[in-house]
Subunit: 352 residues, 2 copies
Amino acid sequence: MDLTERKLKILQAIVGDFIHSAEPVGSRTLSKHHDIGASAATIRNEMSDLEEMGYLTHPHTSAGRVPSDKAYRLYVNSLMDKYVIPEQEKKAISEQLVSKVTELDKTLSHASELLAQLTKLTSFAVTPAQDENALKYINILPVDENTAVLMIVAENDRVMNTAIRMRSSYDAKSLELLSKVLTKNYKGRAINSMLAVDIISDIHREAAPLSQLAKEIEPSFRNTIENMLDVDLYINGLENIFSIPEYTDLNRAKNFMDMVGHKQALTKLIMDRDSGVIVTIGGENGPESLKESSLITATYTVNGKMVGKLGVIGPTRMRYSEITSVIEYLTENLDRAFRLPEGDEDDEGRDE
Amino acid sequence: MDLTERKLKILQAIVGDFIHSAEPVGSRTLSKHHDIGASAATIRNEMSDLEEMGYLTHPHTSAGRVPSDKAYRLYVNSLMDKYVIPEQEKKAISEQLVSKVTELDKTLSHASELLAQLTKLTSFAVTPAQDENALKYINILPVDENTAVLMIVAENDRVMNTAIRMRSSYDAKSLELLSKVLTKNYKGRAINSMLAVDIISDIHREAAPLSQLAKEIEPSFRNTIENMLDVDLYINGLENIFSIPEYTDLNRAKNFMDMVGHKQALTKLIMDRDSGVIVTIGGENGPESLKESSLITATYTVNGKMVGKLGVIGPTRMRYSEITSVIEYLTENLDRAFRLPEGDEDDEGRDE
DNA sequence: TGTTAGCACTCATATTCATCGAGTGCTAAC
DNA sequence: GTTAGCACTCGATGAATATGAGTGCTAACA
């Protein structure tokens, strides 16, 4: 069976109506409210065909039709109109996101809030993954008699540090030397590759007198690397799901919260997605807990290098057109906010 | 009217029953299940008195009695039995909380998770406020030609830093000098008092040649101080409220999520509470959004100095005895986990 | 051959009504 | 002061019924 022009028109009308009403769509309503150019009876026949083809389902015999994941997919790919964001909303978004690059975390958390507010869904944002980032600088600084601070700077100037309580007394010169050796050794290496490094033997081989110190530093070093690799996940707008008919069923609401509560799993899921604005619908998401939800994510970049994600999660019946547009516009603004003001550097990722 | 022995007994029975059943308690049920030593009719009379005194209410004429906030308060203060935590649960808690002081954030977030799981309520934890903490060390390190890192260490060895993109070229000597002057000037000052400091004029007065540099550093300095003063709020167990009868009403659930979603307000509310295990019931909480909830918070200390809070939030009908015990035990363990292993320092706060 | 009107049938939802029972408050007797 | 007895209240439960949007099928039509 073919997807004729008319079938597409009907499908589009059904998806569009259902997205706004959350009510199964019947043939008569459709013929009245849309200019299909066919009677209710004809539409009924077409609907029956569409159901056979897997685009529609039937909650029960005497109810109207409801789009399947497959229908939403078709809708998103080719049926939906492009949503045009009103100028005043654009302006509001832009104004909210003016920021300094040093406050990445706050800006991001703010962007997530904004997204929840704009879409009236649950939104999230993850800080950029540092995995592939290169180490740039390692320094261990004496602070007082028994404290030093280990500081690791990545190529993108993200800094992470840990205070170290020194067991034995130490001398500043050794620390300085150790810092130099460490920087020399590991500068340029990807941060995630550092977990596999055995700094104790490396130092032992190269600068045996520093061995003891290296041993003492090692756990903190490892720790700091791990912390650098961690990303944060911000979630906002959980309360919004209560205004969505799909979640008036307590069980559904609970499942939703349960799923969102598993931050680790959610973070991984989000990070593993492709770049750009990506829509996944119901079953396409994989995990059982997301069978009735859709995810829309987008990628933002910091200074053209670090890459993070943000997006929304909601029922499969979602205002796809509007939301993809908003997310896209939001990330464009984030990219701009996260671009270095001037003093660029020896890298790609400059396009304006 | 007096709270006779019998009235107290009845009140205790009602609160105890209601906490577990969530159903209004009637006189007959009470006389059957508890050894009050009076008939249902007598109990009825007493209940009527208790209602008049404000300890009980009536959802409707023909329903049993429900405790008021005032009753819960009396119950918490003097009626409830002390809950004894089973040894095996104690062991489980202790094992979960072994930690290193360097990973305060992770341990805390973990403690919050654990608390949600143990209480089957919504839990939260805030990182310690740094307001009163003293500055110990300021350093601005050259990283490469156009980047430096500003690092501020507090007396308790919490470190915060920001990468600074230098506008003009700078020389390492000046940075070092500036660091020294800054440290000398501000060492020992409370972090929150630093927001009022005008480092530009201070430097101008003391070391005029560094003025230009100070100007360049200033925004980052301010920023870093602000970041140090920020606390994080972890929330867990949001999904738990769906198993609580009080929140099967969608509206209540939404209000709850709304309230928890206002993280700033919630953080402030938590931080402003007194030390120790504190219970506030319904209207005692202040804000309208918490009129039907109770909060239990406790204080943990890091190395006897920094002080943070954690706790749970749930319906006023809460297992107060069990939960206060669990929170108390948990914070004791946290205190232990956050105590420095050895090499103590020149300070108070050592008690074991 | 595709389209349409007509009609019987389905089934979730809303409404009404009676019943049930836990609980109260009051009275009168102990 | 305590208790038994009793009328009364009122939410909850459940059966019976009506409603109506919607379907699928058939037969007529262009």
